[in-house]
């Protein structure tokens, strides 16, 4: 006991006497650290928002097999975007992947991406990316799903707008309480794009804003840390927004059945991309990594493992057939992404300030 006490006392004393604590010890340490460059050796630093549910580990392990030493830095889509932009004068990342086209076009606008044409550029539809700096990997549909045990297909909503115009769906759908997530932003991109009016507020007609108002007034607000599927299971709500990739797994976990609505205008697609970070010191290595990760083989394996829908046509043959079929039938909503990208920030702000209650 006495020894431990002496030890603690000594530790405190050392901190105190080590040149007046906080003040001088910090620059001393920074001196050391700055003499050694940030990232050691040949490790590629990869930023992604697509590292959850074991994907980060999987990619790291597979990359090691292929001869790449990578370090995944996981962050939400918005966080990763802000981080890449904030660090543009002295980038830490070499490659970024998983962010959707909206996020990447923001990063590109800040001049933080380096143009590169991957070896597999010919195997993907060019217009899913920008054909210059960021290149498509995986498709994700943003859907309206409903509890099919409770609502039959002919009684189900046909489109998002039914939720607040038809009485039977009012208060039966979950509405978001924040627009911080990519999924929520894409839902609104899909709804607002239909009401484009260059003379309207932020390029949207009054009618369009009325839809948003109705959406918030009539929905049941989402509950923090309670998944939509949990609420469907307990009968609190019957429907809400969901990205296509999570449906199968959540149905099983919560023991519910969900069907999705395909509106006549189609559904918004989020396309996850990959890009080279401008100013990387390991450009060649990073380019090789992009070539490897986007290749039909790697994307095929990834799709098999995580039920994703690869953009790479050849990789599609390895993906889960159910997923492939679903996307084959899916009608994609025609969205002018440049228009959306230009306005999304302002839309989110307006919605948060004026319509969320």
């Amino acid at each position: 006991m006495r020894k431990l006490q002496t030890l603690v006392a000594a530790a405190v004393a050392v901190t105190l006497l080590a040149g007046c604590g906080g003040g001088t010890s910090v620059p001393a340490a920074s001196g050391e650290a700055s003499s050694a460059p940030a990232t050691s050796g040949d490790t590629l630093v990869v930023y992604t928002n697509s590292n959850g549910e074991g994907r980060g580990e999987w990619v790291t392990a597979k990359a090691a097999e292929a001869g790449f030493k990578i370090e995944i830095v996981g962050a939400g889509g918005a966080d990763a975007t802000n981080k890449l932009i904030a660090e543009k004068n002295n980038p830490i990342a070499d490659v970024a992947f998983g962010l959707n086209n909206m996020y990447f076009s923001q990063i590109k606008a800040e001049d933080a991406l380096e143009p590169y044409e991957p070896s597999w550029a010919g195997e993907v539809e060019e217009d899913l990316g920008d054909g210059e700096t960021y290149w498509p990997l995986v498709k994700q549909a943003i859907l309206l799903g409903y509890n099919s045990d409770k609502i039959s297909e002919d009684k189900a909503p046909q489109d998002w707008t039914d939720l607040w115009t038809k009485d039977e769906f009012k208060a039966r759908y979950e509405r978001v309480t924040g627009l911080g997530t990519a999924t929520a932003q894409l839902v609104f991109a899909g709804i607002l794009s239909r009401y484009r009016d260059d003379s309207g507020d932020l390029g949207i007609s009054d009618e369009g804003w009325k839809q948003v108002e109705q959406y918030f007034q009539n929905g049941s607000p989402a509950v923090a840390k309670t998944d939509l599927f949990a609420r469907i299971a307990s009968g609190e709500v019957d429907m809400g927004q969901m990205p296509s990739s999570i449906i199968a797994e959540r149905e099983k976990s919560f023991n519910v059945n969900v069907e999705t609505v395909i509106p006549s205008v189609g559904v918004p697609l989020a396309v996850e991309q990959i890009a080279l970070v401008k100013g990387t010191e390991k450009k060649e290595q990073a380019q090789k990594f992009i070539d490897w990760f986007g290749s039909a083989e790697t994307q095929g394996e990834f799709a098999k493992q995580f039920n994703s829908m690869p953009v790479n046509k050849e990789a599609g043959t390895q993906a889960n057939p159910e997923v492939v079929d679903f996307f084959a039938d899916l009608k994609q909503q025609d969205i002018d992404w440049d228009f959306v990208q230009e306005n999304m920030g302002a839309w989110v702000e307006k919605i948060e300030l004026e319509y969320m209650t």
């Binding site: 431990l4 990232t39 959850g52």
Partner: protein, 605 residues
């Protein structure tokens, strides 16, 4: 403690050294990065526009949320004090049966907080909660969703934030000279009068400090309103976080943060004014240890016992349920259905056998420990000087040191990045981004305001005559500091270090922007494993991490605080000259009984 002219202050070499280091630190890490980020936010094209203010003030939702945050802050400052003082009194002041068990229950908030705590309360009082189900059986007509809105948020946050009372007010109480109580008794004062006129006034510096913290907690409320606030009681913090993340709306986030920050500074100013000029220590020459008081009125005695045990149940139930639920699968957690057969170790196996393994835990422990020690070590000198010298220079420094309370941590982090992503002469021409040091700097800075407030309060309770006596006998400044003052505030300093350490362990907001890619702390791993659109495993993992953090924080509090308390008391007796020791009331933060050595621990959130 009258005000000291600046010129006289500047004559002491000790003051000069600390002053120079402090000025550099404040300029380099508090002022410069934040000016940069605020400039970039408010003057994006070099010209100012009133856009942010105009947008915010015309938004009904923003104004209502802002109002709610203020309402919560004011209400919490009152309720936390009422509950906090009550639990401190029943554990340490009155003779209550089983007070040590009560203590363990009340101390449970030391080891957990945030969204899981709110979820824990929801398991009990929510519409499918245990207590609600029982109540509905008794009163069939009642609304199962009774526990929501302002009332629910206030209740949960009140019980969740009494940590500072249990640590600092309790220790200040133990430091009261029992002779003052006895004297009052001899003069015929009642229990209530003694409490109100003798005991509580001596706790004032600490009560002021914890009141500011409660106010701040209320202003920054995030998870409790999200889980329990419902439609009618949402606060401003979620909006600030959304806008911080959107480059085009960041000016709104900064403006909101500045409004909250100014309110905090105002509160600080009021409290500082109230604190001024008081004497918060006994001046008797022979002090004695506090003894527990009987409640003589039998009715009052029973009522206090009943209230104490009711509170015990309120404090303990959520922890028990969280530990239980951490063994259940995510679907059961979210739907609130728990059966004993569904409890397995799967969640723990999944979390602990990840590829990253224990490394993030180690990284976080090292970062948090370093940051906690540096913050407390450095500020010991500063708090002492600010408490001793009262003039405009000292006040200016004090307010500047509160800057980290004004801005959300994401903005602080962005400020550091944009200021130090190229060689900067302020830090000797080094580039800080991408180094392991930048996160440490951020961790130290975010902990400065809390550390300073609590340290200053504990210095305020030190009897000045001790120092004068030493000085008269020829002791030099550093000697007095080292041999007289330090032993007196060390127990409080150790407690603050432990709290800082605990609260940094799972930090995400700062680490996400500043962590070195190869040295990633726990917060990032937790986020990756718990976010996933709040899926099934994600929510279960949240509970597992909470329980794991409870274990770590419990151990640290036991090691650092429990033992430091004992050491403090023993050392003080040895170190301080006998006469002074007798005259010295144990300081705020000193624990002399050693009773709390079993103390579990806790992050302040």
């Amino acid at each position: 403690m009258s005000s000291t002219p600046v010129r006289r202050m500047a004559r002491s070499p000790f003051v000069l050294v600390v002053g120079v280091v402090l000025t550099w630190f404040i300029a380099a890490f508090l002022v410069w990065p934040n000016i940069n980020v605020l400039m970039a936010t408010f003057f994006p094209d070099g010209s100012f526009s009133g856009r942010a203010a105009e947008k915010l003030f015309s938004s009904q939702r923003a104004m209502k949320a802002l109002g709610n945050s203020f309402l919560l802050a004011v209400a919490l400052s009152i309720t936390v004090n009422v509950v906090g003082i009550f639990i401190v009194l029943v554990t340490y002041y009155f003779r209550i049966r089983g007070s040590r068990i009560l203590f363990l229950g009340y101390a449970s908030t030391f080891i957990y907080g945030g969204i899981v705590l709110a979820a824990g309360y929801k398991f009990i009082y929510g519409d499918k909660g245990i207590v609600t189900s029982l109540l509905v059986l008794v009163f069939p007509g009642m609304d199962p969703a009774w526990f929501s809105g302002f009332f629910a948020v206030l209740v949960v946050m009140t019980f969740a934030t009494t940590t500072n009372h249990m640590l600092f007010v309790a220790n200040a109480l133990k430091g009261i000279d029992y002779q003052t109580v006895e004297a009052a008794k001899n003069l015929g004062a009642s229990t209530w009068t003694i409490l109100r006129r003798v005991v509580l006034p001596m706790l004032k510096p600490t009560l002021f400090a914890v009141t500011i913290l409660s106010f701040l907690t209320g202003l920054g409320a995030l998870s409790a309103p999200q889980v329990l606030g419902g439609r009618d009681f949402q606060t401003i913090t979620p909006m600030i976080l959304t806008f911080t993340n959107s480059p085009t709306s960041r000016d709104l986030a900064a403006l909101l943060a500045v409004i909250l920050g100014l309110a905090t500074v105002l509160m600080l100013a009021v409290m500082t004014r109230l604190e001024k000029g008081g004497t918060y220590f006994s001046v008797s020459k022979v002090s004695s240890e506090l003894q527990k008081q009987d409640i003589t009125n039998p009715v009052a005695n029973i009522a206090v016992h009943a209230a104490a045990y009711l509170l015990f149940a309120v404090y303990t139930l959520p922890v028990v349920l969280i530990v239980l639920y951490s063994f259940a699968d995510g679907a059961a957690i979210q739907t609130g259905q728990l059966s004993l057969s569904s409890l397995t170790l799967d969640n723990y196996v999944r979390v602990l056998t990840q590829q990253s393994g224990l490394r993030p835990f180690l990284v976080s422990v090292v970062y948090s420990a370093l940051a906690a020690l540096i913050a407390v070590g450095g500020l010991l000198f500063v708090a002492r000087l600010l408490q001793k010298y009262r003039n405009w220079v000292a006040s200016l420094f004090e307010y500047l040191l509160h800057i980290p309370w004004i801005l959300p941590s994401a903005l602080l982090a962005l400020g550091l990045i944009i200021s130090y992503d190229r060689p900067n002469p302020i830090v000797g021409g080094a580039v800080l981004t991408g180094t392991t040091v930048i996160l440490l700097i951020a961790f130290v800075t975010v902990k400065i305001p809390f550390t300073l407030r609590m340290l200053k309060a504990s210095f305020a309770s030190v009897n000045a005559s001790l120092e004068e006596a030493a000085a008269i006998m020829g002791a030099r400044t550093l000697y007095v500091f080292r041999r007289i003052l330090l032993p007196l505030v060390l127990p409080a300093a150790a407690a603050i270090t432990a709290l800082n350490f605990n609260s940094l362990l799972d930090d995400y907001d700062t680490a996400i922007f500043l962590a070195h890619p190869l040295v990633q702390p726990l917060g990032l791993v937790i986020k990756a494993n718990t976010d996933g659109a709040e899926g099934v495993d994600g929510v279960a993992n949240t509970f597992v991490y909470t329980v794991l953090l409870m274990v770590i924080t419990g151990i640290t509090m036991y090691l650092v605080y429990g033992r430091a308390g004992r050491r403090g008391s023993r050392k003080r007796r040895a170190a301080v000259p006998p006469v002074a020791a007798a005259a010295a009331p144990p300081p705020a933060g000193a624990s002399i009984s050693g009773e709390d050595s079993k103390l579990p621990a806790a992050p302040v959130r």
